[in-house]
Symmetry: C2
Subunit: 218 residues, 2 copies
DNA sequence: TAGATTGTTAATCGATTAACAATC
DNA sequence: TAGATTGTTAATCGATTAACAATC
């Protein structure tokens, strides 16, 4: 049923979201989660548009691909839309990730609620600094980076978050990949070389800033 | 001349990049900056493609809109391509930004080289915690958050980076906007309400992770 | 020369938008 | 009923890709 709705052309096409749709749905999820926290119960496509800078028609269209989730004249119920999107993105369960680097950035990430809110659990934290090992960070004990491969493999972790200095990033990435990680979030400045079946997401505030500035300057 | 090259259709179109092109050019800039640091002098469109997950043809096409920067059979000179893209994005000068929040995330941002590398200067840092005021962070003295409006206005700052707890984010955003800021990078979980002429970029690792996970799960 | 890589064309596909009837 | 907002159509625009001649 879901597959049929996702491919409106009979006999056609993939039962997989396009990259664009999946990215947008994730952003709706974030807006809904925060709106719910603020006590809201309903939201309109226009309100989601204001927070995401995604066109309201696009939002309604994205959602209507999967069913009629809204009420005309009223909007969408936040709770039920949350459940629907989670179903579509298959993010209902718990996901375990590994964090490497317990410096300032690593600590900021570990103590943030942002992952927990979306069912993402930081299952292991590593650092190479012996003085940090054993200390608690966001509810987990910091482990020796030399144990990374074993722990990641044992816990079947497929996502790694890199919050280490640029100089150490490639070595850590290699270890993560060896241990079975297939998605790396790179918060270092370094460019990472990985096998083609591994996805690297490099997060770079400066890049986004340059791009935003361009539109301010022109 | 530049205008003409940017609008190949005679008599046509904007002298402004589309959002997509500007975003991609910024990412090329990051790859070039890092490659240069690693001592490379030339790079091919395929290498840039490997690091950015942007199609190599797309990259060549983006660049050839502005001139013939490459050498067939050889690739692009990193130095000259850096200069060309900076010219196109008008990011050759120095840009002053304000950072609000000197907690772990704020400290991580302030001490990173990532902004400085791209000519972005953190001209002021604020925090509401009196015990932090006056302390040095990434070369700047932390100032009292109550001075935010005056300082931002005096220094003509148009970009603000929010690294404060979610509960404080809206108030800080209001103050930044009052003081003239037009671009806000929001690293809190909060949704921000701002006037329509202000751009908010919300950076949310969890959102990117959910979206990346979807493709791993399917 | 032989190999590599750019610049460019042409074709396709998905994103974006305005507009509006349906309906809460 | 009157007002609001969804779901959907239709039209346009930009992104994406393969392919390949040009040329270093």
């Amino acid at each position: 049923m879901l597959v049929m709705l996702q491919s409106p052309v009979p006999g056609g096409a993939p039962d997989r979201l396009t990259v664009g749709v999946a990215a947008r749905l994730s952003r709706y999820l974030q807006v809904l989660t925060q709106s719910k926290k603020m006590g809201k119960e309903r939201i309109s496509s226009q309100e989601i548009a204001d927070y995401t800078n995604i066109n309201a028609t696009q939002i309604r269209r994205d959602l209507s691909n999967f069913g009629k989730f809204g009420k005309r004249g009223v909007g969408y119920s936040i709770d039920s839309l949350l459940a629907e999107i989670r179903k579509i993105l298959r993010t209902q369960g718990q996901h375990n990730i590994a964090l490497v680097g317990a410096g300032r950035l690593g600590q900021a990430i570990a103590s943030s609620q942002i992952f927990a809110e979306h069912g993402i659990n930081i299952a292991a934290v590593f650092d190479s600094d012996e003085s940090k090992i054993g200390h608690d960070i966001g509810g987990a004990a910091i482990e020796d980076e030399r144990r990374l491969k074993d722990v990641v493999r044992d816990k079947n972790i497929v996502v790694g978050v890199l919050a280490v200095p640029a100089g150490a990033a490639q070595k850590v990435a290699d270890d993560l990949v060896d241990a079975g990680v297939r998605i790396i979030f790179n918060y270092s400045e370094a460019l990472l070389d990985v096998p083609s079946d591994v996805t690297v997401h490099t997060s770079n505030p400066a890049v986004e800033l340059l791009h935003a500035l361009y539109f301010h300057l022109t």
